[in-house]
Amino acid sequence: MPLALLKYGIQRKYKGNRYFPAAKPLRSAYDVVIIGGGGHGLACAYYLARDWGISDVAVLEKGWLASGNTARNTAIIRSNYLTPEGALFYEESMRLWRSLAGELGINLMYSERGHLTLAHTDAAIRTSRWRAEVNQHLGIDSELVGRDELAKLCPELNLSEDIRYPVLGALYHPPGAIARHDAVAWGYARGAMQSGVEIHQQTEVTGIQSLDDGSIELETDRGSISAGQVVQAVAGMSSELARMVGIKLPIRSVPLQACVSEALKPFLDPIVVSGSLHIYVSQSARGELVMGGATDPYPLYSTRSTLDFTEGLMANMLELFPFLENAKVLRQWAGIADMTPDFSPVMGITPVSNYYIDAGWGTWGFKATPVCGSCMAELAATGKAPELIKPFELERFSRMEQVGERGAASVGH
């Protein structure tokens, strides 16, 4: 082997090893155009080709591949939601996640750490018990644990009773996981491209028109494109895109910030979340603490970072892990979250025919990337929304049928 390596080194004829196939020129018509090259859009493209044999597909991305929330999220994956509709949907995503790395041929560093949602009040204990009951009924691994169990699951946690919000117990979700978000996007992108899907970066959609023959005309900064079907998956920009085609959404765009600490020795195995303290934290494979909290207090389309955020977050972080007082914050950033009033997504058909929407993913949509891609692909291919996403259609708001996930989605991700 070393000899072969030496020969290869001396020979100087190295085979190029492109990860992605070379990009093709932009055409003026496609069967399906997906707006937004984040995880959701790329997954949809991948499943369109894999499950439905539809590969005359273009993904249009105004920046670079997965430059939006996919690249900015804290990568927590779980299915212990509150409503049966939500829990079943996310549970199906977990099923897809488990075999995804093998299928896409890329290391997603999918790591099942266990997920703890701390309860500091009687009300929080009650919600945890409620969630555990709903989850268990649906076959999701989820239970309420007390302080003794918690001390074993997370010995580093401050379980003192002499603090403002002593920890009373937690909702424990053993399959809770984290994954390498960039790899998810790259894996789906490569898989889609290998089946003939085109991905066009630096291509911004600037206008949308629905024509009489049912097709959709898209204006872009690289010319106009005609599409048989359009799937919109642009996260924080959802309202702006939908406005172009005359659709009004139940969405506010609000920044969500996150940060990482310097690398520390591995000490934190589970993912720890506290709704009362508005924080969540996990330790990455390279030792950094990945930390986040609540969304910013008002809507905004700017991804600036604020000191208010880090100050507030760290005050609460030190309640749970006082020994971190000298740890340094290394990086901080923000993404624009598309927040809905019921903390559930907006997926499915719209008043415009052949225009499908995948939005309202707020602070919780990374975990849904596989199931969302698969369901949106089915919708675009058949024109019919799969049962799994029916409860999330835009129409639900005119029927006053919200899917209330506030108790399980806010802060918790």
Binding site: M237, S239, E240, K248, L249, P250, I251, R252, S253, P297, Y298, P299, L300, Y301, S302, R304, L307, D308, P341, F397, S398, R399, M400
Partner: protein, 96 residues
Amino acid sequence: MKIIDCPLNGPRNAQEFICAGEVKQEPSQDAAIDEWADFVFLENNLKGVVHEWWCHVASSYWFVVTRDTATERIIATYRPDEFFASQRQTEGADSE
């Protein structure tokens, strides 16, 4: 720290305020359910200049902020009566 110029209390830290969303016209009591759903749930969520209800929490004082959601710049703050009077004026000017 952002400073907001409260019409009642003068310049104060942004943390003393809450934002309660776009200024909208409430439908009449007997409006169709669609109109109510629109009022309750749907948002313009504009990237650009918006008018919003804000409240100074400590003094429970409600007022209107005109703000650019693309740049985070606060353009003006108004007492509600002042804001609606100026709205009526511009509407009047439009219809001429």
